[in-house]
């Protein structure tokens, strides 16, 4: 009844269909990204198996708590080994930023700004917006307000921003690996020490991914 009262023009119908399709595509894309992240984490977690292979085969620990404690210890060591280089990159960037502020006298300098920062290398768009059923939505293609242009004063930010982002991304990847291994250690500990009468995989000690 309520739906019959809504009269939609041909253009609105088309816009609604396009919007619906766009939403579906976006969610499918996000779904595939999450699947990829899960796959990467599974691959990262296999290192936990190698870390704990000797103590598991030798049946060195008699309790789950001790096993997990050892697993955490090993995990931290592996993380420390992996995160050395990104940490050094981030440390170097921080030092460079402090030195830049010291010599330029611009304390609180934003390296992403659009005047003398990394923002000068980015496009700036003006998106036309309209209200659609009470929701503000983008209604048309944007107009370009600012094009990328080179500013000699911003040369520090041109180097600083990509290197920092690279270091931060690498560090976050290492953190993700740490989390994946932590979950895996927990799972292995449960599988070994919490013995069940009926298990899914009676032949293997360590459960598969």
């Amino acid at each position: 009844m309520f739906l019959a009262m809504i009269k939609l023009s041909e253009n609105t119908k088309r816009a609604l269909i396009v919007l619906f399709l766009a939403v579906i595509i976006v969610f499918v894309f996000i779904g595939y990204i999450s699947l990829a992240v899960q796959g990467v984490m599974k691959k990262q977690a296999t290192k936990a198996d190698a870390m704990l292979a000797n103590v598991t085969k030798a049946e060195y620990f008699d309790t789950e708590k001790k096993f997990r404690k050892f697993g955490v210890k090993k995990n931290i060591r592996v993380f420390y080994g992996e995160a050395r280089i990104p940490f050094l990159i981030l440390l170097g960037c921080s030092l460079a930023y402090i030195l830049f502020c010291l010599f330029s006298g611009k304390w609180g300098y934003n390296p992403f700004n659009r005047v003398d920062g990394f923002g000068t290398l980015l496009f700036k768009f003006d998106w036309p917006k309209e209200k659609f059923f009470g929701i503000t939505l983008i209604s048309n293609w944007p107009t370009v307000v600012e094009k990328p242009h080179f500013v000699p004063l911003a040369i520090f930010s041109y180097i600083f921003v990509p290197v920092t982002l690279f270091g931060a991304g690498w560090y976050l990847y290492c953190t993700q690996a740490y989390i994946a291994r932590a979950f895996r250690i927990r799972k292995i500990a449960k599988a070994i020490y919490r013995k069940k009468l009926v298990t899914d995989e009676p032949t293997s000690i360590i459960p598969e991914e």
Partner: protein, 155 residues
């Protein structure tokens, strides 16, 4: 289609849980930063105390030693078993008899016997000609009934 639907649902769930996931990731990132700094200073102290900070943990070394011991024990047990088997089953039944040699596997034993090669028949004109040593064939009258006119068998 069903797979795509699953991915779509997964995408919706991920979007809903994304703030929580990012929060956990950031918290872990900060925690790991603390761990890293702690490990760094610990390793500096270890370095000046002359300890190997990149080496294996003592539990690892101990576990490896245990595994080696297990392997050794296993090998010794196997050797003992094989020597017991030799002394029990390969002993001669009577002392004056020589030790019984094991027969070769029949499969390999058969392989040494060479059969005579079979003659290969060749099809040619000589095959259809009569053989020289063969006696000329005499047609025998196998008719036991005799002359059909001689009813009483007087011949």
């Amino acid at each position: 289609m069903l797979k795509l639907l699953k991915v779509f649902v997964r995408g919706i769930l991920t979007t809903i849980a994304l703030p929580l996931i990012v929060l956990i990731w950031v918290v872990y990132g900060v925690y790991c930063l603390g761990l890293f700094v702690f490990m760094f200073f610990k390793n500096v102290v270890d370095f000046f105390q002359g300890r190997d900070f990149n080496g294996d943990l003592k539990e690892d070394l101990e576990a490896r030693r245990l595994l080696l011991e297990q392997e050794k024990t296993h090998d010794q047990a196997q050797q003992m078993l094989s020597s017991m088997y030799e002394s029990t089953f390969n002993k001669p039944v009577f002392p004056q008899q020589p030790p019984v040699e094991e027969e070769e596997d029949s499969f390999f034993a058969d392989a040494d016997i060479q059969e005579e090669p079979k003659k290969v028949e060749q099809y040619g004109p000589e095959m259809f000609a009569p053989e020289q040593n063969e006696e000329p064939r005499v047609e025998e009258n196998n008719d036991d009934y005799g002359d059909p006119d001689d009813v009483f068998g007087n011949d």
